[in-house]
């Protein structure tokens, strides 16, 4: 455990040193505040709190942004150290390979935790102050932050998988971007495209729900859009999803699996890697 902490702390310090954390906080806080200002316009007719609207807007944005941030953080984690030669020396120290992976993972998740909770937290504070102390809907907001962290963890793990598979950093950047495109854009596009073309309705609601569920980004979306009464009323698809029997536990488990599977695969490949 001590080794993992030492390695995690190194990653955290790297994040502080290169202003990575500071920039991420600034980016997330600014976006959240801008969205909250824009989002307060339609509140009038629908009876939902300003925070609920912001959760919908932020979740829709985070689903693009958080994976991107997480992949940028992780794609270099292994291939970078192989390429520069620092891994060679590190592995002659009294650390096991799984400790190296878990240490990096803990460090990167910690960085994301700070960035998300400080960035979105600042925005939350801003909104509460602006609305004269209206806390209504904070639970949904909190869930949004927590699930954003989980979404980040998913893409950190996927980034490691890319990082252990490729031979060069340049390939890792390309592959990470490809991964982002598939998970965040293409999968949904194909899914909805198939649905539109499916005139015979071969794809039933059950299959469609399952296809949505197995994607970590869709799980994240559904989770946040169906979170609170107020949110699910104002978000279109969410109602469908919650009716399909997707409990919060199920959605979280799916995302957790998306962390565990790439991470263990990375570990397996890293163990077999010769230096």
């Amino acid at each position: 455990m001590k080794m993992i902490w030492i390695l995690a702390l190194k990653e955290l310090r790297d994040g502080l040193r290169n202003r990575w954390i500071a920039s991420a906080i600034l980016l997330l806080a600014t976006l959240a505040i801008v969205l909250s200002l824009m989002g307060s316009a339609p509140t009038g007719s629908v009876k939902v709190s300003a925070l609920d609207i912001t959760v919908i807007n932020l979740a829709s944005l985070s689903v693009y942004l958080i994976p991107l941030i997480a992949l940028m953080l992780s794609f270099d984690a292994l291939v970078g150290e192989f390429e520069r030669g620092t891994m060679l020396l590190l592995l002659t120290y009294p650390v096991t390979r799984w400790q190296v992976i878990m240490g990096k993972f803990a460090g990167h998740v910690l960085i994301l935790f700070i960035a998300i909770f400080a960035g979105y937290g600042l925005a939350l504070l801003f909104m509460v102050v602006m609305s004269g102390g209206d806390f209504a809907g904070w639970q949904a907001y909190f869930t949004m932050m927590t699930s954003s962290l989980l979404l980040g963890a998913v893409f950190v793990a996927l980034g490691y998988l890319v990082s252990v598979l490729v031979k060069e950093r340049a390939t890792a950047i390309g592959s990470a971007m490809g991964l982002w495109l598939i998970f965040v854009v293409l999968y949904d596009l194909l899914l909805f495209g198939a649905l539109l073309l499916d005139k015979q309705q071969v794809i039933g609601q059950k299959l469609f729900s399952t296809l949505m569920l197995i994607s970590p980004t869709d799980s994240y979306r559904i989770l946040n859009l169906s979170m609170s009464e107020g949110v699910s009323q104002s978000a279109g698809i969410a109602g469908i999803a919650s009716n399909a029997g997707m409990s919060t536990e199920l959605l979280l488990s799916v995302m957790l699996l998306w962390v565990i599977i790439p991470l263990t695969t990375t570990l397996y490949l890293f163990q077999r890697r010769e230096l």
């Binding site: 080794m3 030492i6 190194k10 310090r13 790297d14 040193r17 290169n18 520069r84 030669g85 620092t86 060679l88 020396l89 592995l91 002659t92 120290y93 009294p94 650390v95 096991t96 390979r97 799984w98 010769e274 230096l275």
Partner: protein, 315 residues
């Protein structure tokens, strides 16, 4: 019995080790043992397999066949973590985390090895990096990186040192300083494995040499043992009375025991003879009388022995 006892003292033992990368066999059937306190030098041309051999002993890569045992354990297993506590490694052209300062790098490695911050300061002082310790490693020169590399290898008072071409990029003074550090560690009972191209530098410092050629261990032993294996001539330098060089040369030139006589100037000459004929010849020369004023016997040097093994004179 005796054999078993020797085995028990082995700090490193390689048995029929073969290493293949794809279709390329980089090491063929390597057998050799290292005992505690020894100082071993690995020599060989570029690509002879020195670095691969070190990586095998460090557990960074696994042998295709054969067994590697270091400090009584298999270095590739996760249980080797214990052994790595008492191990120091300086890779060839060492790389560090460039964004960190020298001090931060060393502190990070010290934490992993359970070494104290005080030890970091001492080591930085010892390698002469105290003043530069607050600077980023990216700004370091090659020599400074090498010194930082040495400092990290010395963390935690290692019992076993692996140094891959440690003195490249160091100026002569630093080289000397570097060997003093290694000697200090030897006095504490440490074992060292050094790979080097600087043969004249390591000649007097190692007690055993391992010569690798295209992945084959062609020779292993002390300088004297290697000398016995080769048929290289011994050189004898003579200083004779002024103007007598040609006379002596003529006299010795007819002697069948001498392979070659070279007249250097009017009072100096050089003879080459086989090691078997060396002693009889020395006795004979001593009997020549006043005319011979001084004599120097020079056995083949490591670089000559090395060239001999490299030239393909062996199977």
């Amino acid at each position: 019995m005796a054999e078993k006892e020797v085995r028990a003292n082995n700090i490193i033992s390689l048995e029929s080790v073969r290493k293949q990368y794809g279709k390329d066999t980089v090491l063929h059937d390597i057998n050799f043992n290292v005992q505690a306190g020894e100082s071993i030098v690995l020599v060989g041309h570029n690509g002879a397999g020195k670095t691969t051999l070190m990586k095998l002993m460090l557990g960074l890569t696994r042998p295709t066949s054969g067994t590697v045992e270091v400090l009584k354990g298999n270095p590739v297993l996760s249980t080797a973590v214990e052994q790595r506590l008492s191990l120091g490694y300086l890779p060839e052209s060492v790389a560090f985390y460039d964004a960190m300062t020298g001090r931060e790098v060393l502190s990070f490695y010290a934490a992993l090895k359970g070494a104290s911050q005080q030890e970091c300061s001492n080591l930085l002082e010892l390698v002469g990096l105290s003043d530069a310790s607050k600077r980023k490693v990216a700004t370091y020169s090659k020599g400074m990186r090498q010194r930082l590399g040495l400092a990290q290898a010395m963390l935690g008072d290692p019992q076993l040192l692996f140094l891959d071409e440690p003195t490249t990029g160091l100026d002569p003074l630093l080289r000397q300083h570097f060997y003093e550090l290694i000697d200090k560690q030897h006095k504490k009972g440490a074992t060292s494995i050094i790979s080097s191209h600087a043969l004249s530098e390591v000649e007097a410092r190692a007690n055993r040499f391992v010569i690798l050629k295209k992945g084959v261990l062609v020779a292993c032993g002390t300088l004297d043992e290697l000398y016995q294996q080769v048929s290289l001539p011994t050189r004898i330098n003579l200083k004779v009375q002024a103007g007598q060089a040609s006379v002596v040369a003529e006299r010795l030139g007819s002697d069948a025991r001498i392979q070659k006589v070279n007249e250097l100037d009017k009072d100096g000459l050089t003879l080459l003879c086989s090691k078997q004929e060396k002693m009889p010849l020395i006795r004979y020369i001593s009997n020549l009388g006043e005319v011979v004023q001084d004599m120097q016997v020079i056995p083949p040097r490591l670089d000559e022995i090395y060239s001999y093994f490299m030239s393909g004179a062996t199977a």
